[in-house]
Amino acid sequence: MDSSVATPAAQTPPAAPPQQPQQSGRGAVEGSATWQLSDRIGLAVCWALGLLFCAIAVAIAVYLFLQGIKYLKPSMLVTPAAGGFTQSESGGFSDAFIGTLIVAVMGISLALPAGVGIAVWLVEYGRPAALARITESTIESIAGIPSIVLALFGTVIFSSTALGFLSRTSEGVVFGRSFFAAAAMLSLVALPLVVASTREGLNAIPQHVREASYAVGKTKIATVRRILLPTARPQVATGAMLGLGRIIGDTAIIVVLLGATQNFAPVGGTFPLNYLRGAGTTLTNFVYEASPTGNLNQPQKAYAAAFVLLLMVLALNAAVDIVHRRARKAGTWSH
């Protein structure tokens, strides 16, 4: 295009016959040889940035893997944290590990049905239009609120007397910190991701597929349940997994609304409820406390816990991948 730009052919020595197959190899699509200089610099920057981010991701993963394998002992996952002066005395982080699982399950089981329901309503019903617009922008602004702000707001809600049954109460004062409180606020963190991803999945389904279902006498709700949601399953799963990732990765809400003790602090009551109404901790909080800046200062266990966290996130990614692959096998409409 621009003759002022030196082509590779001009730079190579004249006696270079193997140039030909090289050109037909890549040049079949479009060689960058004919590009303007600025475009080629742009391409080079993109390449460099891409490689840089790959390198950062790989570095984090490899470093945590090495540290994790070195410090993680299976016993840490079953031993609760304990008081002690050395790292060998202070036990493991079983309570944090179980705590992470609890908030993940509780948080997503609130966020998933609510998020899918909101997305279905927005895409398939969406009337009155004004209400739909308001809902949309509300969800978007929830996505933008820092989780520490949500946490602070949560303390106001869950310290109210009406919700006293969800946390420790003594002499009429509601403690306001429990798995219930933390999971409720964490579900708000996951909700926008579930909504956005589900909407994307529903919007990708051609209109005539819905009509094909209506045209054999199916109601809207039957179509949603049997056709649309199963079709959007990969995107719903993606939203759920992204939401889970945010939930297990959140620290602010845990510190403020879960009490950030290093052990479960069950309150009186029947078995699961006494734990869920009490304070607790999660892996992120443990990593923070065990890091050199935290109160526990046992960096080896911080690495071990961070490694467990990383494995959980990788497992989530793998799960999403499996769902998507299965959906690809089922095929899609031809256009």
């Binding site: 054999v216 006498g217 709700i221 039957a222 049997r226 199963p230 096998k329 089922a330 031809s334």
Partner: protein, 308 residues
């Protein structure tokens, strides 16, 4: 067990033997001036008609009576009156945007899904105004096949089973539904090709097979009228031929209405043809008459390829 299967609407299909072989007398209607006119072939259309001959019988099932459909303030269909008969294939032809698809969609109240659409006039199904029939019941009696093959992303079997089951229910077991699924696939001429792969994903079939699955799906509801909206436009010639044969075979059991852009196709399979232009019904007559000796100038120009 039997009660879990949706009760099919009472079937008013008349058995073949009892009906007189004669064609029905020309009904009233704007375009209908010579319903029985099987003029000798002359003119441009020399392509072979399907070896189907004249229909054995025909019974009026639907009556489109002065129907107009508007989107917001644009009138897409302007006061069209047409009969839809079982025993023959009715083809709607016309240039893009002439309202033929809108008219087709109004026959099973799919136009109501478009919020801005308003319909005036009456459409009768067996002498009952379709606005008095509950939409889901109506759409089981008047089913539709779309332009794009659109099987649901589930197995071949489940595509049909979904139609047979009540709304979103999954209670009826596969074994119970098997005979009905098989017969629907057989009617659509697909059974032999897929009988060993009934649990394969439907979207992995070829385009032609997908479209026949959609026809099987539409037939599984035991409809009285089958609407087809350019069913072959996304298909190769061979699949098109298979589906055309199928449509002709179906006309004895269901009233068939097909929208097509393909004039040759209309000539090959239709018994009656309605030519629409800018929302109006310009001409309605038998396929041979309309293609070989059109009464209207616009019809003549359209079928000879002058516009559209």
């Amino acid at each position: 067990m039997e009660s879990l299967i949706p009760v099919p609407p009472p079937i008013r299909r008349l058995p073949l033997e009892q009906t007189p072989p004669a064609r029905e007398a020309a009904p009233v209607g704007v375009g209908e001036k010579d319903g029985n006119g099987a003029q000798p072939a002359s003119g441009g259309f020399t392509a072979a008609r399907r070896s189907i001959g004249a229909p054995q019988f025909s019974i009026r099932r639907m009556e489109i009576d002065a129907v107009s459909v508007s989107y917001s303030d644009r009138e897409a269909v302007k006061s069209v009156s047409l009969p839809v008969r079982q025993g023959e294939v009715l083809s709607l032809i016309g240039p893009s945007g002439c309202g033929k698809t809108t008219l087709l969609r109004s026959l099973n109240r799919l136009t109501e899904l478009t919020r801005t659409a308003t319909l005036t006039g009456r459409i009768l199904l067996d002498d009952v105004d379709i606005r008095l029939i509950e939409p889901t019941l109506l759409r089981r009696r008047v089913t539709m096949v779309f332009q794009q093959p659109n099987p649901f992303p589930m197995s071949v079997f489940d595509n049909i089973a979904y139609v047979l089951r009540e709304q979103g229910s999954r209670r009826v077991r596969k074994k119970t539904l098997e005979p009905k699924v098989h017969s629907a696939l057989q009617r659509a001429g697909l059974f032999e090709e897929v009988k060993d792969n009934l649990d394969h994903p439907a979207l992995r079939l070829s385009g032609g097979q997908q479209q026949r699955l959609c026809i099987a799906r539409a037939l599984a509801a035991e409809p009285e009228v089958l609407l087809l909206d350019e069913p072959c436009s996304a298909l190769d010639p061979q699949s098109t031929q298979v589906i055309e044969d199928l449509i002709v075979k179906l006309r004895d059991d269901v009233a068939v209405v097909i929208v097509t852009h393909n004039l040759q196709q209309a000539y090959r399979i239709a018994d009656h043809v309605a030519f629409m232009y800018l929302g109006e019904l310009v001409e309605y007559s038998s396929a041979t008459a309309l293609f070989n000796s059109p009464r209207e100038q616009r019809t003549k120009e359209y079928v000879s390829g002058a516009f559209g």
